[in-house]
C-alpha cells in the first residue's frame, strides 16, 4: 500500500535541531475559507467524517443550526453559526468553518513534552502522532484556538490533520473537495494569500463590506488556514475567533527562558560538584570507631 512519509520541519519535545530540516525545497500548503460565500451546508463536516472513518456523533441542539457546541476528538471540522446584528439593526448569519489552523508557529507543538507527539511537516501541516502521545493535554493549554481534543478511551489527543495522508499523495483535503459553493480553496500559502486579498478587495469595492479583510494572524506566525471575513476588525463575531492569537505566555516562559535557566542550574550544579571534589577531595569514612562514636 502507499504508506507515505513526510519530512519534518519541527518536532515537539525534541532537544536540538531537527535533523535534515530545511534541506529540501517544500511548498507550504494552505486552506482558504471564504466565509462570505459559505452557505452552512456542512458538506465539509460530513466529508471530514467520511474520509477519516468516524461515525456520526450525536448532535447537540444549541438554539442554532450548529451541529454541536464545539469540535470533538472525533469531529474535527465544525461550522460555527453566529447571529450578528449589524449597525443598522439588521441581522447577518455569520458562518465559519472551525478546525485546526495549522499555525506556522504552533502553540500545541511548543507546549508538548512528548518527543515526536506533535510534528510540523515540511509542507506546514501540524499533525499529532498518537503513538507518541502521552495524553497530558498540554497542547490544549498551548493552543489559542481550542482545537486539540482528548479521547478518554484511548487517552490520546486528536485534531484535524489537514488530510496529511491525502496531501502527501497529491490530493486535496476532503473538506476542500466537497465544498459545493467553492468557498473553500486549497493551494500553496502564497497563492491562497493572493486569492484571499483579491476576494477581500472585491468585497470592499463592489459589495459594500468596507472592513472586509483576510485573517492570517501574525501572533502565531501566520496560519495554514486563512479566512476572508466581512469584517476583519471583529473576528470575535465569527464564533470566538481570537483577534490577536498568540501562544500563552506561560508556555512561552516555560519552553523558553525557564528551560535555559533550568539547564544553567543543572550545569552549575555539575560544575559545583566538580569544584567541591577538586577543593575538598572525596568524602572519606574516617574509621569504624569514629563513625560509631559520631552516631548516637
Amino acid at each position: 500500500m502507499s504508506q507515505a512519509t513526510l519530512q519534518i520541519r519541527r518536532i515537539s519535545g525534541h532537544a536540538g535541531p531537527v535533523p535534515g530540516a530545511g534541506v529540501e525545497r517544500a511548498q507550504t500548503v494552505c486552506k482558504l475559507v471564504d466565509t462570505t460565500t459559505c452557505i452552512g451546508c456542512k458538506a465539509c463536516e460530513v466529508a471530514c467524517l467520511e474520509w477519516n472513518g468516524y461515525t456520526f456523533s450525536e448532535t447537540v441542539f444549541d438554539n442554532s443550526y450548529q451541529t454541536m457546541p464545539e469540535t470533538a476528538w472525533n469531529y474535527w471540522n465544525l461550522i460555527k453559526f453566529n447571529e450578528h446584528e449589524r449597525e443598522d439593526g439588521t441581522l447577518m448569519l455569520l458562518m465559519r468553518k472551525d478546525q485546526c489552523m495549522h499555525c506556522a508557529e504552533p502553540g500545541c507543538l511548543a507546549a508538548c513534552p512528548a518527543d515526536g507527539a506533535i510534528v510540523q511537516y515540511a509542507n506546514g501541516i501540524v499533525d499529532f502522532q498518537q503513538d507518541h502521545c502521552i495524553g497530558c493535554g498540554y497542547c490544549v493549554t498551548g493552543c489559542p484556538f481550542n482545537i486539540p481534543k482528548f479521547n478518554p478511551s484511548t487517552k490520546k489527543m486528536f485534531k484535524c490533520t489537514l488530510c496529511a495522508d491525502r496531501v502527501a499523495q497529491g490530493l486535496e483535503p476532503a473538506c476542500i473537495k466537497a465544498c459545493p459553493t467553492g468557498c473553500l480553496h486549497f493551494g500553496t500559502k502564497d497563492d491562497m494569500t493572493d486569492l484571499a486579498e483579491t476576494r477581500a478587495q472585491q468585497l470592499r469595492e463592489h459589495y459594500g463590506f468596507e472592513k472586509a479583510g483576510v485573517y492570517d494572524p501574525t501572533g502565531v506566525g501566520g496560519t495554514g488556514v486563512i479566512y476572508v471575513l466581512h469584517d476583519a476588525a471583529n473576528p470575535e463575531a465569527y464564533g470566538g475567533l481570537p483577534k490577536n492569537p498568540h501562544i500563552p505566555w506561560v508556555v512561552r516562559l516555560w519552553k523558553g527562558p525557564a528551560k535555559w535557566i533550568g539547564n544553567l542550574a543543572m550545569l552549575g550544579g555539575i560544575i559545583g560538584v566538580a569544584l567541591h571534589y577538586l577543593r575538598f577531595g572525596p568524602k572519606r569514612v574516617e574509621s569504624a570507631k569514629d563513625q560509631k562514636g559520631g552516631q548516637p
Partner: protein, 193 residues
C-alpha cells in the same frame, strides 16, 4: 595519556550516556502517515441518487475486480471530471458511503397491499408480473380514445411516470417510447418535485 582498558570503557559509556542525554539524535526526521485508504481501490463512476442535480460520484471499492473478490465500498467522493459538480458534493452526497453500506438498505422488491399496514417481500418475477397486470388493467379502464369533440387522442390518464436523476439518456429514451406507446401523457421528472 595513560589509560587502562577499564578507563577507556568508562569514558565511552559516559560519553554515550551524555550524547543521548543531551539529545544528539541522528534519527531521520520523517513521520509516517496514515495510508491512503483508496490507494489501490477500484474506482467506479456513478451518479448521486438524491436530488435532481445528478452529481457525479466515484465509488471506491476494495479489490481490483478479481474473480474471487467481493467488492466492498470503502469510500465515496465527488467525481472531479463530472461537468455538473466537478468533484464537489453536498452533505447528503458526501455521506453516500453510509447509504450503501447500511443494514437498512433495500435490496429486494417489496409490496404493500391495499389495506395492509406493512411491507412484504416479493420475488422480482412476481413483482414484474403484478406491475404488468395492474398497468394493463388501469390502461384498459382509463384509456380515452376520443375527447368530447370526437377528436382522436388515445390518452391513458390513469398512469403517470416519474423519472429519477440517475436515469441515463438511453434509459429515458426507452421510458419515453414505452410510456407514449401506452398513451401515458403524465411524464414527469424528479427535478420539479
Amino acid at each position: 595519556m595513560d589509560g587502562s582498558r577499564r578507563d577507556f570503557l568508562k569514558a565511552g559509556a559516559l560519553g554515550g550516556a551524555a550524547t543521548s542525554f543531551f539529545g544528539f539524535d541522528l534519527a531521520p526526521a520523517y513521520a509516517q502517515l496514515r495510508e491512503l485508504k483508496i490507494a489501490r481501490a477500484t474506482e467506479t463512476r456513478s451518479t448521486c441518487p438524491y436530488c435532481s442535480v445528478s452529481c457525479g460520484v466515484i465509488i471506491y471499492t476494495i479489490g481490483d475486480n478479481a474473480k474471487n473478490v467481493t467488492p466492498q465500498v470503502v469510500h465515496v467522493e465527488g467525481d472531479p471530471d463530472h461537468p455538473i459538480n466537478r468533484g464537489t458534493l453536498c452533505p447528503k452526497g458526501a455521506s453516500l458511503e453510509q447509504d450503501i453500506v447500511n443494514p437498512r438498505r433495500l435490496l429486494k422488491p417489496q409490496v404493500r397491499r391495499p389495506g395492509s399496514d406493512h411491507w412484504e417481500d416479493i420475488a422480482w418475477d412476481q413483482a414484474i408480473d403484478e406491475i404488468g397486470h395492474w398497468v394493463k388493467k388501469t390502461r384498459d379502464e382509463t384509456f380515452i380514445e376520443r375527447d368530447a369533440l370526437r377528436r382522436t387522442v388515445n390518452r391513458c390518464e390513469g398512469i403517470a411516470w416519474i423519472g429519477g436523476c440517475t436515469d441515463t439518456n438511453e434509459f429515458n429514451y426507452l421510458v419515453g417510447k414505452a410510456m407514449r406507446s401506452l398513451g401515458v401523457c403524465y411524464l414527469e421528472t424528479q427535478a420539479r418535485v
